[in-house]
Amino acid sequence: MTVITISRQFGAGGELLARTVAKELGFLLVDRSRIAAGLTALGLPPQLVRFDETAPKTEQLEKKRCFYVTALHEYIMDLAASQSIVLLGRGGQFLFRDRPDAFHIFVYAPLAQRVEWIRQLYSLEEKAAARLVSEQEQRKKRYIRHAFGHSWLDLALYDLVLNTAKLTPQGAIKTVLYTLSQFSAKHAPQSMDKAAALLQPEKIVKTAKFMHESEVEFARVLDFYNIPWQYEPRTFPLHWDSEGRIIEAFTPDFYLPEQNLYVELTTQRQKLVWKKNKKLRRLRELYPEANAKIVYGKDYRSLLKKFGLDENVET
């Protein structure tokens, strides 16, 4: 059995990381929804779930809150006794501190970066995002301090500390999977072998479910040069019928957030791409703020040539 605990600052992307790592390793993800469902199924009154990761507020509620925390800890320990889990938050770094088969990860990012991510994620004004981040941060800090009497910022609690602002999401996942594959495997040979097997680059990249081999290759090139990317994150409606239904839309293959650039990859011959060119023109008319470009078959083949990936050379 293995327990991976992921502690995270609010907005640093710990949730996505926990979800992906659990999925890739086939471990049970223990997060808010799993806990709520599990505890309620065991007979805990549903209204107590609101005490999840909260610090004491008023004296009259404190008894209920303590009851919830005790039930929560028992529930988590029970789960981890019978299977491998990825535990998100909830003081896992303290609950499993002395367990040799536990691996503790802390995920953070600079405040300004987290505020920016949260602003984008929830489409908030910057001030509102900053307030949300600070409130959540205070809440978590107080919860841990109260439940375990210790600051969660003590580095000795963690086996791996990640700054997600310096890594692409794929990079963070790869880093964690790689590290887990090196985790003194005697405690959990099977599951950690799985982490090692998952490190084959195509397996990581393919989690994005690409349509074409060229897209897989392009994503690998971007990963290689450490350029953050998202796959088909946005669809732009281009034409509507008289009842306002969308009849034509354009979903560029990639978005490169650092460049603020949408990239459409086409490996078709140049003369067949007029349709895409037309879409691109329409996109620029309707969404002048969206910076987009098409990488044509010719560009793509030049890229492969440059890396020596085209077919054999003949003169």
């Binding site: 450490n226 650092e258 040539k305 440059k306 050379v313």
Partner: protein
């Protein structure tokens, strides 16, 4: 792939342009501590000829970075294969590239060198192919802007061939 070469830039044209670049750079860097950073391997030819046209003192150094390939290590991340020997902190750095097209490797290089706190960091590239750009990168000094072609010669190769050409040619696929 069957291919042929089509002439793009002749030897004299290249030499004249390099002389002009050398003059401009010499004026811009007069009285400054200049480090020329030549990016291995294709840029060596250009760096040698350009440096001979620079009349202010400079320090010449080389840097190599790994290129993307399907055989790269499992983690597959770009890395430095030959690092600079000189400390560039507080110095004026000029990166010498043979060609800037996608901007991917130059982007990495700029980010890497910036962390070493040079006083200035600029790019001089013999060839610039903005039509193929994926990542926006600055090219402060350019010899020639090329249309979207695959260029070889004068250091630029195709499967290690054609580096030794004195001219620059476009590699054209043949059916």
């Amino acid at each position: 792939m069957k291919h042929r070469l089509e002439p793009l830039l002749g030897r004299e044209e290249i030499e004249a342009q390099i002389a002009l670049l050398g003059k401009t750079i010499s004026l811009d860097y007069a009285g400054k501590e200049l480090v020329l950073v030549c990016v291995l391997r294709g840029s060596v030819y250009f760096a040698v000829d350009l440096s001979r046209q620079i009349t202010v003192p400079f320090f010449l150094d080389f840097i190599g970075i790994s290129s993307y390939s399907q055989e790269t290590a499992p983690l597959g991340i770009v890395r430095i294969t030959k690092d600079l020997d000189v400390n560039i902190a507080g110095k004026e750095v000029l990166i010498i590239e043979d060609i800037v097209d996608t901007g991917l490797s130059l982007n990495y290089l700029l980010r890497n060198l910036k962390t070493r706190h040079p006083a200035g960091l600029r790019v001089c590239s013999l060839l610039n192919v903005p039509a193929r750009r994926i990542v926006a990168v600055p090219v402060d000094y350019q010899g020639f802007e090329l249309p979207n072609v695959y260029a070889v010669g004068y250091g630029l190769d195709y499967h290690e061939r054609y580096r030794n050409l004195l001219q620059i040619a476009a590699l054209v696929e043949e059916p």
